[in-house]
Amino acid sequence: MLANVFTKSLRDRQVATLVGVIGVVSVAFLGLWAYADLDDQIAELYGGLPEGFLALIGLEVITDAGTLILGEIANLMAPMVLAGLAISMGAAAVAGEERRGTLGILLGNPKSRVSVLTSKAAAMIVLVTIGAALAGIGSGLTAAAFGTDSSDMHLPAAMLHVTAIALFFGFLALFLGTWTGNSSVASGVSVGVLLISFLAAGLLPLIESLSNLTRIFPWYYFNSSGPLQNGIDWGHLAVLIVAIAVLGAGAVVGVRRRDLKVGSPSGEFVNRMREHPIGKKILTRLAGKTNVSSIALKSSTDHRTLTTIAAMVMLYTALMVGPMYNAVSDVLVEFSKAIPDGLKAMIGFVDMASPEGWYTVEVFSIMLPATFIAVSAAVGARALAGEEENRTMDLLLANPVKRSRIVVEKAMALTIIVVALGVATGVGTWLGSLLGGLDISVARIAGATLLGVLLGVFFGFVALAVSGATGNRRTAILATAAAGFVAYFANAFIPVNESIAGWARLSPFFYYADGDPLANGINWTNAAVLAALSLAVLAATLPLFQRRDIRN
């Protein structure tokens, strides 16, 4: 173990960890604030739900708002946030240093590759553990402040499970990073596995014949045992720990046997693929060609791999959700009957039993915003700050172009990318609806997707603004992620409580989801509000970027 590598890795991510923890605790606060007077209704709702459903959200009995919110924290938010942190550390550990060309300098010292790897892995373990502990303590204290009786809940046990699942994905990224030398592949694939695993754990149990399949997904070992209410499941925890150990050992093998690249994103795996005729064909197809005819076209085609993968995921998911409806519609009808009117607000007054409701819950409520915002935040953050960090902005500005033109063209590129994702999602939904015989109106699909595009563009422009104002890509991504996170939960929780429901209008998500657009058609006023918000953010970006020294 190398103490300085260890502490540097901690320092590199301490702000991100803190922002994540604050985000989780803020969501706990928001939820408890909104649900404060609704204990009875919550008990009524969850008492009437089918048994399988509660297991899905990792809870067995829900008696009050505090249980529900702590359940959401322990089963959804904390693991997502901490897994994200772990993935970014795992991907940066070896592959990230290779990309930046700093690994050579690090290994120029008389230290072995393995000691560098273990120091970074140790930092990841420590930071994720601290993050989980702080998130647990913060949410627990918040719940206590709202008078929640959490004596029968096992928050430490739940957080231990959270730590394990987050580290699983962190070590997966570490493993992939050491074998490919490509941090984008490492983080992209890990996030993909995380999302698929999460979705599978949610969807497969609804289909009886497939419910056993959930066991092949790591998410199953995280919360199917309900650690918040039942305490630690040592068997499940052991499965995750063994998996982490295997990935860690694999990473050690990977980092030892591979030629390390300096400042080059491709690793041995990619190079081997290039040597193979079929692999080369796939890579060339996937890599495509950057269009250099303008800043906007270059920037949009720069992200073609990310765009293609995200679009394919959206298309495929939207396509599959349609035919699945028929397999689960009985459960959905039973479920939707159990929901008292007062609490329909929680899922945006969506009728889950209808095909439109099914699509809204499965694709449009979380997956679409999460994917669109993740992509647009990454693209927006890289747009200006990325060029500065990669030191190409000086060259770009050596040409006779105004800074404002760069901002506008980068915004256009971002919009093109989000529109591409929107088209993939819309087409996927339309095809899925056809395949499942669901007969969802094309105009409504287009309307709901358009709102999704506008939402994605808004958060992309937020990332662009922070990126232009600070020149720091990581700050831009963090700020956008935090804003998206809080905005999403503000709109999910606040409308539940009628006395404060109006505050939800402060969240852009309100204008995206308000009025259930897939079922009832697009509300053009909401679309206009989202578009106007985006343009306002873009307009604010111009002076922010104009007045600043370009970083070198």
Partner: protein, 297 residues
């Protein structure tokens, strides 16, 4: 007459750090102007300020007769720039990189680009990520030269270039000056500037130390005479001679650093059994150190 570059009390602070202090500089049209200083002296800060990439704390800069901030975009039509520590887009080939920048400039003469690539022996078909730092630098140079700018601003341009390419590059700089265009060349590679520059400025800790013609600098400079005698000679023989700065004697070998004429020195040397004599021409390295010593003392 218009100057290529004029800076007036140009100053840049980064918080407490004073990167550039009251810099007054004039660069004539048609000259190759060397801008010398060690790492961290403020060379890059000065260049990025006059290119409007960063903004001065106070003071102004004029390029080709126009205010560098107010006319920044227009001026870039007439300026070619090579940043220090050049970075390019790794996934583009050299030609794609040049096409991208050419499009931003509204097109360039591609036969001239090919001519430049030939002269610098640059392979434009390879992706930038597969290029060595020297070959990447060539793409950066072509980028700076390709629109035939009236003012070329080059920050440490020779880094990574092999000696043959460096020679070719220096010839290109002389040709540009001969056409009446201006080259502003920042470097800490003194020999490079010495070969091509008409005048040089030396900058240190953000302040201008001196601006001189190369020839003047050389005559002012301390030179060295290495002598070999047939008998042991004492250093004290030379130390009292006017203009001598330093004497190192090792029995029969004596090395004398001096300024001004060498007549008195030779006179003393000839009085002993002088076997061999070698005059070491002053290079900028020594001049540089001389000026540094002067400003420090």
């Amino acid at each position: 007459m218009t100057k290529a570059i004029i800076t007036d009390r140009l100053t840049k602070h980064y918080g407490e750090t004073q990167a550039l202090i009251d810099l007054d500089l004039e660069v004539e049209l048609g000259e190759v102007f060397g801008f010398l200083g060690p790492n961290g002296a403020g060379k890059t800060t000065m260049i990025r300020t006059i290119l409007d990439l960063i903004y001065p704390t106070y003071g102004t800069a004029t390029l080709l007769g126009k205010d560098s901030h107010q006319f920044a975009v227009e001026l870039r039509n007439h300026v070619g720039y090579l940043p220090g520590d050049l970075e390019l887009y790794p996934t583009l080939t050299g030609r794609e990189t040049l096409t991208y920048f050419a499009n931003l400039r509204g097109g360039v003469d591609w036969t001239y680009v090919d001519h430049l690539a030939d002269r610098l022996d640059s392979d434009l078909t390879k992706k930038v990520r597969d290029l060595s730092s020297g070959n990447k630098q060539k793409v950066g140079l072509i980028q700076a030269f390709m629109n035939k700018p009236d003012l070329l601003i080059l920050d440490e341009p020779s880094s990574g270039l092999d000696p043959l390419v460096q020679q070719e590059f220096q010839a290109m700089l002389r040709e540009i000056a001969a056409e009446g265009r201006t080259v502003f060349l920042s470097s800490h590679t003194l020999s490079e500037v010495e070969r091509v520059a008409d005048r040089v400025a030396i900058i240190r800790h953000g302040r201008l130390v001196v601006v001189e013609r190369i020839d003047n600098l050389k005559t002012k400079a301390i030179r060295r005479l290495d002598m070999e005698f047939g008998e042991p000679v004492s250093a004290s023989l030379f130390e009292s001679i006017d203009g001598v700065r330093n004497v190192e004697a090792d029995t029969t070998r004596v090395s004398v650093s001096y300024e001004g004429a060498m007549k008195d020195l030779l006179h003393v040397a000839m009085g002993h059994d002088l076997i061999n004599l070698e005059s070491v021409e002053a290079d900028l390295e020594e001049i540089f150190l001389t000026y540094y010593r002067d400003t420090e003392s």
